[in-house]
Symmetry: C2
C-alpha cells in the first residue's frame, strides 16, 4: 500500500474516527457485560444503560422514540428484516411490493426472494437522473400493496428521492414505506415526525463508525415479525448478544456527523464535479441538485473505468467503479443501466466518495491526475483516438 | 459498578483481550478499505489479504480449508444460516429435522420456524446430565432426515456431546449434521478431518474476542443456500460489507485461546465445584466429566438463584442464573427443566463461567461468600428453615 494514498472511494467514509474508538474502549475492557443479564448484578445494569443511551441518541437524531430503533449487524440485515419481517406480518390481502430498480442488493435481492414466495413485485420507473417517477408510483401502489421500499439516496450515483411524496402515496393506499438510508443517514436531514416513513435502514460504517453494526427504525405500530430466530433481545425483534461497543461507537459516529461537515463535504464534491466536467466527453451521473453531499459520479467516454482506477492507484488515489458490493466483478452497474446508460457508459463511470479526512488539495490533485490519465488512455485506445 | 467486582458469569469470558484490540486497530485506521473493492487499487487488495489470512487461521484451528469458513455477525446468525440455508437447499424428500431440547435459542426457535414451514421436527431424548440418548437418536434419524442439529456443549450446564457418535448416525442416514459450538470453540479440541460434522457455528465473544462477529464452518459440498439477501461477499453465502477488524480480532482471539489455558480454567472449575458441593443440599448440574472446561452449574436447594445473585452482587461477585439470553426473564431455564429438573431446581441453579482474567483467589472468595449467603438465605426462608 502506498503510504500517501488519497482515498476518494467508499473507503474514504469507512475509516474509523479515533474519537469513536475512544468512546467504545471502556465497553471492551470494563463494562463488557451482557446487557440482558440485568437481573441481579450491577455490571449488567451498567451495560444495559450504555446500550439504551446509545439507542436513545441515535433515535433522537431522526426524531424517533428510543423504542422505535433497534440495533442490527448492519444495513444488509436491517433491510432483510424490514422486507421479510413486514412480509410475514402483513395481512394476506396485501401481497404486492414496490421497489425501485436502483436499490442496493439487500432490497433488490430481498424483494426477489419474496417474489419467489408469492409476492408480486413491481419496479417503479426512474428518470435519467435516478429519481422515482411519482406518477408511475401513484399508478402502481394500491390497497394490495404491502410495502414500498425506495432508498433515500443511491449508493452509486448519489441521487436522493422525494421521500415525503413517496410516503404520501403509500399512506393514501395503506401501504408501509421502507427506505434504505445507508448512505444518507446523518449526512442529510431526516425526521420521522415530518416524514411519512415506517422503516429506515441505517449503518455506522458509512459515517466513520464501526463495521458490523447498523440499525432499523420501526415506527410504533408497524406490523413486523422477528426474522432471525434466537433470544429475546432488541424488543424481541433482533436476537443475539448485544454488541454494546458497536452501539456506543455508532452513537458517537452519529454525534460527530454534523451539518457543518455536510456543508464542507458538499463544497469538495462540487469542486471536483466542476473540475472533471471540464474534461471533454464527460457527464455527471445522477441528479445535479438532489444528490448526496459527499458523492460524485462521472462517466468518461472512450475510457474504461477499470483502467482509470488502475492508473489512479499507481499515482496514489483510490476511487471506485461499479457498486460497493460488486467491484470484484466486471459486470456493468445495474444503477447506470437502470437510468438508461449503456454498457460503455457503465464501464466508463467512476464514483468518488468524500469523507472526514479529505481536503481541498485532494480534490485538486485527483482532478489534475484524471485529466492527464484520461487524455493518455484516450490517446492509446482505439475507441478514444482523436477524442481527447 | 463496584471497582473490584469479580466476574464469574458469562461476562467473564466476554471481556476483550487487549492483544485482540491491538491486532484490530490497524484495520480501523489504516487498512480500512472494503475488501471487495479489490479490482483496481492496492488498499482493497491489502484489506482482502487481511480478511483471507484471518479466515485461513480460524479454519485451520478446526482442520478446515479456508473456503469452508465464512464470517457472520455472530453465532445467532450462523445457526440461522445453517438451519434455514440447508432447509432451502436439501431435496424435497428430506423434510425432517432433529434437535436436542437443550439447544440454545437460535437452533431451538429456528427449528420451530422451519416446523411452521412444513418440516417435521423431532426432539431427541437427553439423560439427566444433558447427554443425548444415542439409541433414541438412532431410532429417529432416517433417510427422510435433512439435518440434525445438536450442540457441542450446553450454554448453561456445560455438558458436551459425543459428536463422533452423533455424526456417524447422521452419515448412515445421509442426514447433514450441524453443531452449535458457540461455547466450546477454541476451548475444546475440534477437528473436522476426524469428525463427521457438516456445519459448525462459532463466535468470537466467548473467547475474549470482539462482539458482533462469528462464523460458520460449511464442509465442502454441503447443500446450502444464502439466507440473508444482499451482495456477493463470503463466497456468495453472507452478504454485507466485511467486518475486517472483527475478523482479524476473531483470529487473534482464537490464537490466544490455548490448550494451556484450557487446563488452567479446568482447574479453577474443579476447585469451585469441589468447594460448593461441600455445602449441604447442593448438586452439580450437567455431566461431571463431559463438560466445558470453564463452566460450573450448581443447584442450591431451598434458595432462590436470583436472591443469591443479588447478595453476591452486593459483595462484588457477578454470576449468572438462567440462560445468557434470558436472564431478564424470571422464567425457568428450559435446560434445567429439559434434564428433568423442576422449577425449584431451575430457580435455585447458578452458572459460573471462567475466563482469562479469573484467578484461584476469585474461586476461593466466591465459594466462601456463597457458603455464607446460602446459610443466611436458608435461615430466613420458609423453605429453608433448619435445612442449612
Amino acid at each position: 500500500m502506498l503510504e500517501d494514498t488519497i482515498y476518494l472511494d467508499n473507503a474514504a467514509a469507512t475509516r474509523l474516527d479515533e474519537r469513536v474508538l475512544e468512546a467504545m474502549t471502556p465497553y471492551f475492557f470494563e463494562l463488557y457485560a451482557v446487557a440482558t443479564s440485568q437481573f441481579g448484578y450491577s455490571l449488567g445494569i451498567d451495560a444495559r444503560d450504555a446500550l439504551e443511551d446509545a439507542r436513545a441518541q441515535i433515535a433522537s437524531r431522526i426524531g424517533a422514540e428510543p423504542d422505535e430503533f433497534i440495533f442490527t449487524s448492519g444495513s444488509t440485515e436491517s433491510s432483510n428484516l424490514a422486507l421479510k419481517g413486514v412480509a410475514s406480518a402483513v395481512s394476506e390481502a396485501r401481497r404486492h411490493l414496490v421497489i425501485s430498480p436502483l436499490e442496493d442488493f439487500p432490497v433488490l435481492h430481498g424483494a426477489r426472494t419474496l417474489g419467489k414466495q408469492g409476492f408480486d413485485v413491481t419496479l417503479v420507473q426512474v428518470d435519467e437522473t435516478g429519481r422515482v417517477d411519482l406518477e408511475h408510483l401513484r399508478d402502481i401502489v394500491s390497497p394490495q400493496t404491502a410495502l414500498v421500499s425506495i432508498q433515500m439516496a443511491n449508493q452509486e450515483i448519489g441521487t436522493t428521492q422525494d421521500l415525503t411524496a413517496v410516503g404520501e402515496i403509500c399512506r393514501e393506499n395503506g401501504a408501509l414505506f421502507h427506505t434504505d438510508a445507508t448512505h444518507s443517514f446523518a449526512r442529510l436531514p431526516l425526521d420521522v415526525r415530518d416524514l411519512p416513513v415506517d422503516l429506515i435502514t441505517v449503518a455506522a460504517h458509512t459515517i466513520h463508525g464501526p463495521k458490523g453494526i447498523g440499525g432499523l427504525f420501526i415506527r410504533d405500530g408497524t406490523p413486523i415479525r422477528k426474522w432471525m430466530d434466537g433470544g429475546f433481545q432488541e424488543f424481541n425483534l433482533r436476537p443475539g448478544v448485544e454488541n454494546i461497543p458497536g452501539a456506543v461507537g455508532f452513537a458517537k459516529a452519529v454525534d460527530l456527523a454534523t451539518s457543518e461537515e455536510r456543508v464542507r463535504l458538499q463544497a469538495l464534491r462540487d469542486r471536483l464535479i466542476d473540475a472533471l466536467l471540464q474534461i471533454p466527453h464527460t457527464r455527471l451521473n445522477g441528479h445535479p441538485v438532489h444528490r448526496l453531499p459527499h458523492n460524485a459520479n462521472i462517466s468518461f467516454r472512450f475510457v474504461e473505468g477499470e483502467s482509470l482506477l488502475l492508473h489512479l492507484d499507481m499515482r496514489g488515489f483510490a476511487v471506485s467503479t461499479g457498486s460497493a458490493c460488486f467491484s470484484r466483478s466486471l459486470e456493468a452497474s445495474h444503477v447506470i443501466l437502470g437510468i438508461g446508460g449503456n454498457h460503455e457508459r457503465a464501464h466508463g463511470s467512476v464514483r468518488f466518495t468524500f469523507g472526514r479526512y479529505n481536503e481541498e488539495g485532494d480534490v485538486d490533485a485527483v482532478a489534475e491526475a484524471i485529466a492527464d490519465i484520461v487524455k493518455e488512455l484516450r490517446r492509446i485506445s482505439p475507441l478514444g483516438k482523436d477524442r481527447s
